[in-house]
């Protein structure tokens, strides 16, 4: 009995000793070594990861994605940890689509960090990281892709390597598109599997932008400009298509083209949106402004006759009509249809410098239109107190002032829509919420606008300067423009450098579509607006009108 009790006591004592040892070890690890061990554990198990915000989509009015963000990885390496740079370069070169020499150079750098590839698509990045090459790591980022390539490149802009918009809509609406990155705390187990995820800062994705652009009309406009470029070899060209009733921009095409997927490869100047950034002397397209003012003031009517000689003297300047002709009588309508410089100057002189200047500003020239596109120029108008004696010999015919294609299109929209000057807009909705239409204000009466529209039909009628352009079934209206450019070498108007333009709308009686085409310095063949820009207008409109289901009238 005593022996049994002794044994029991021995076993109990043994267990008690073990318990004391365990307790002691616990105290040692938890109290004495607690701090350093906690720190080591958090280093191994705890990570604070950034959560990349997905940049918002940009789509056209029909929901076609024009700019998409896809997950990607920045592949980086620590050259100090790369044990076999040559072998690593050999393995990674085909996957990263770089030469071995380039990779070897990067992996041999005396640095602790080097980028091997930025924004590699996630699928490809996973294949790289799956090789588990020590020293090669990936950082999650977002990669911007423009699925339609060069379509509307100048409008969309592009994004830099850090995911920030650098041009176009990507730049002007960067704050909406960017979103806000988040952070999360991940606790991983011994094999690296996350066992706990806490969002310390929620990620906010970027907002979706819906534009007023129509991808098909945009594509067609760009195709037409490319064809114009092939035939006339200009310096550049731009085309604008918009709904004059609302100011919604359906297309902004620029030539030469650029690809926002590779902005670095774009030709110089190709990334500029010339629709808002190109200043030029409008030439004869400005005559509509001159005539509008005089009509609105009641000084003239469409049938007011004018005695039109071949030339006119204004102060020390002599201005000729484009085509030599004997002295003849032309009505206001005919002056516009034949684009008579003499006639337009006579109408301008009838208005007077002060009223003319007032109309120039009423039509929005000399200031930004307010379109929601970045990089808008405001053009240059001559202040009234700077008018010289001969100013009214060139301003009414569109020389001596600088305008942008957007300003001209906006001014003609006012004529097309019955007299309301309204800023154009390109953003249709943000995150599904329709953007409010910009407010407009009346500058001419509906009657004046209707008279002017009727007169502009004559430009495309037989005898007009764009009579060769027609679209079966549709009544078109518009105005040609052929403006000389200043020769920077001489400071005088060049005899070889012109800007050919055409601005028109259809159907003439109830315009629903307006198109402006501006071709800078056409080189081969013709230089006139009626032969260079007007046919381009016709081609764009002949697609767009039936495409949009716009009946003839």
């Amino acid at each position: 009995m005593a022996v049994a009790q002794r044994r029991i006591g021995t076993i109990f004592g043994l267990f008690f000793i073990l318990l004391v040892v365990a307790a002691g070890r616990t105290v040692y690890l938890g109290v004495l070594r607690g701090g350093p061990l906690r720190k080591a554990a958090s280093n191994q198990q705890l990570t604070n990861e950034p959560v990349t915000a997905q940049r918002g989509l940009i789509m056209d009015r029909n929901g076609v994605d024009l700019a998409v963000s896809e997950p990607a990885q920045d592949i980086s390496a620590d050259p100090y940890l790369i044990t076999d740079p040559l072998g690593t370069a050999e393995r990674l070169a085909p996957m990263l689509k770089q030469t071995q020499a380039t990779l070897l150079r990067k992996l041999s750098e005396h640095a602790g960090f080097v980028y091997l590839e930025r924004a590699l698509p996630a699928g490809q990045a996973q294949a790289v990281l799956a090789l588990k090459i020590p020293g090669v790591t990936g950082t999650a980022v977002m990669r911007r892709v423009y699925p339609r390539g060069p379509l509307a490149a100048q409008v969309l802009g592009f994004v830099g390597t850090e995911g920030k918009g650098l041009a176009g809509i990507e730049y002007s609406r960067d704050s909406l598109l960017r979103g806000r990155p988040g952070r999360r705390r991940v606790v991983s187990d011994a094999i690296g599997q996350p066992v706990s995820i806490t969002e310390t800062q929620p990620m906010v994705p970027g907002k979706t932008l819906s534009l007023t652009l129509d991808a098909n009309i945009q594509q067609r406009s760009e195709d037409v400009l490319s064809a114009v470029a092939r035939v006339f070899n200009p310096k550049d060209a731009t085309a604008l298509v918009m709904d004059p009733r609302t100011g919604a921009i359906l297309a902004v095409a620029n030539w030469p083209q650029a690809n926002p997927n590779d902005p670095g490869a774009a030709p110089a100047g190709a990334l500029q949106d010339r629709a808002v950034g190109f200043d030029y002397e409008p030439g004869s397209t400005f005559k509509s402004v001159t005539v509008s003012g005089a009509l609105q003031q009641g000084l003239i009517t469409p049938s007011t006759p004018f005695n039109i000689p071949n030339q006119i003297h204004v102060a020390d300047r002599t201005i000729h009509d484009d085509t030599e002709h004997p002295e003849e009588t032309l009505t206001t309508s005919q002056i516009l249809a034949r684009s008579s410089n003499v006639g337009a100057i006579k109408i301008g002189l009838l208005e007077g410098a002060e009223h003319f200047n007032s109309w120039v500003h009423q039509f929005g020239f000399g200031e930004a239109t307010g379109v929601d596109l970045p990089g808008e120029e405001q053009g240059v108008t001559l202040p009234l107190d700077h008018y010289s004696g001969s100013s009214m010999g060139n301003l009414p015919i569109g020389q001596g002032e600088l305008v942008t294609p957007m300003q001209m299109a906006t001014a003609y929209s006012a004529i097309a829509n019955g007299g309301i000057l309204r800023p154009a807009h390109i953003v249709r909705a943000v995150a599904g919420q329709l953007a409010p239409l910009p407010a407009g204000h009346r500058i001419i009466s509906a009657a004046t606008a209707a008279e002017l529209r009727h007169m502009l039909e004559g430009v495309l009628a037989p005898g007009g300067t764009a009579s060769e352009v027609s679209i079966p079934g549709y009544q078109l209206a518009g105005k040609t423009g052929t403006a000389s450019k200043i020769d920077p070498a001489t400071g005088e108007y060049s005899q070889s450098a012109y800007v050919a333009s055409f601005i028109g709308f259809a159907p003439a009686s109830n315009p629903r579509l307006l198109c402006a085409v501006v071709v800078d310095e056409p080189q081969s063949g013709s230089v006139f607006g009626g032969t260079v820009a007007a046919p381009a207008f016709g081609q764009i409109m002949s697609f767009a009108l039936p495409y949009l289901g716009i009946p003839p009238g």
Binding site: D65, E70, P552
Partner: protein
């Protein structure tokens, strides 16, 4: 039996009386022994003064715990086999809980990966969708199917008359669909189905009007039918008695309107038979 001499010599021993005289002497029975440890009653603690209330609370709790520990039910439970089952159940439960937690944790990682994968796939599909809807691609595919863009000016726009056309459109839904004759050989066979075959159709105004209305609601004719105007003008114009007059005034492509297919939801859905030559709001003006 005591020897007489010893009995006479020894003094008589008398047990002290513990009871009162006159009462029978009884010895108190010993308490019955029961198995188990001897239970000792706790000494009753004297009542403490109010000033020692805090200490009494702890003691009270201890007493209560002690009472619980000595409760019969607990005793029976511990002495029995039930507690083994309870503890076993609890242990199994803990293990199961831990396993479940581990599975949940493992699924977190998988969910993250799945989320990333879905994000990649969504982006890839968006890109693919955008590329597939490119205009030139659609045109190329359409050309391969024998379709083409309607020539400018070949479209006919009709004025919609909501009451009349809606009624006729609804009525036409109950009409059997007839296959067309020659024009249906074109890729616009669908179009000719709604237009009706000139030969097969009865010449009643009602039945002839219905297909015409459904045909005339289409503004955009498939280009394939536009390719066949010359081949079957008679067929198309004789589709409907009254509309024949109106469609025959359309210069550009009469069959392109009358054999137009599926009412494309056009904005100008009018029936061409409304007035001879007036059904079309504006034909190609030339």
């Amino acid at each position: 039996m005591t020897p007489p001499a010893a009995a006479a010599a020894a003094p008589t021993v008398h047990r002290a009386r513990t009871v009162a005289p006159g009462r029978p002497f009884t010895i108190a029975p010993r308490p019955r022994r029961v198995s188990g440890p001897v239970r000792r009653e706790l000494p009753v603690s004297p009542r403490r003064p109010a000033a020692q209330a805090e200490g009494s609370l702890a003691l009270g709790l201890l007493e209560a715990l002690h009472r619980v520990s000595r409760h019969r039910l607990l005793d029976r439970l511990i002495r029995g086999r039930t507690w083994i089952a309870i503890i076993a159940f609890a242990l199994i439960g803990i293990v199961t809980l831990q396993l479940g937690l581990l599975k949940l944790n493992a699924s977190i990682g998988r969910s993250l990966e799945r989320g990333a994968l879905l994000q990649r796939e969504n982006a890839a599909l968006s890109i693919e969708n955008s590329e597939l809807t490119a205009g030139y691609r659609v045109e190329t595919s359409a050309a391969r199917l024998g379709m083409g863009i309607v020539p400018t000016g070949a479209l006919l726009f009709l004025t919609a008359r909501p009451r009349v056309d809606a009624y006729r459109g609804a009525a036409s839904l109950s009409m059997p669909v007839h296959t067309a004759g020659a024009p249906s050989s074109e890729a616009g066979a669908e179009a000719s189905l709604t237009a009706g075959s000139p030969a097969a159709q009865p010449a009643s105004a009602e039945s002839s009007a219905a297909p015409a209305s459904s045909a005339s609601t289409a503004m955009k004719a498939p280009a394939s039918t536009a390719a066949a105007p010359a081949s079957a003008p008679a067929a198309s114009t004789s589709t409907t008695g009254e509309s024949a007059t109106s469609t025959s005034t359309a210069v550009a492509a009469p069959s392109s309107a009358t054999t137009a297919a599926p009412p494309a939801g056009g904005t100008a859905g009018g029936s061409g038979e409304a007035s001879p030559g007036g059904g079309t709001q504006s034909g190609p003006a030339g």
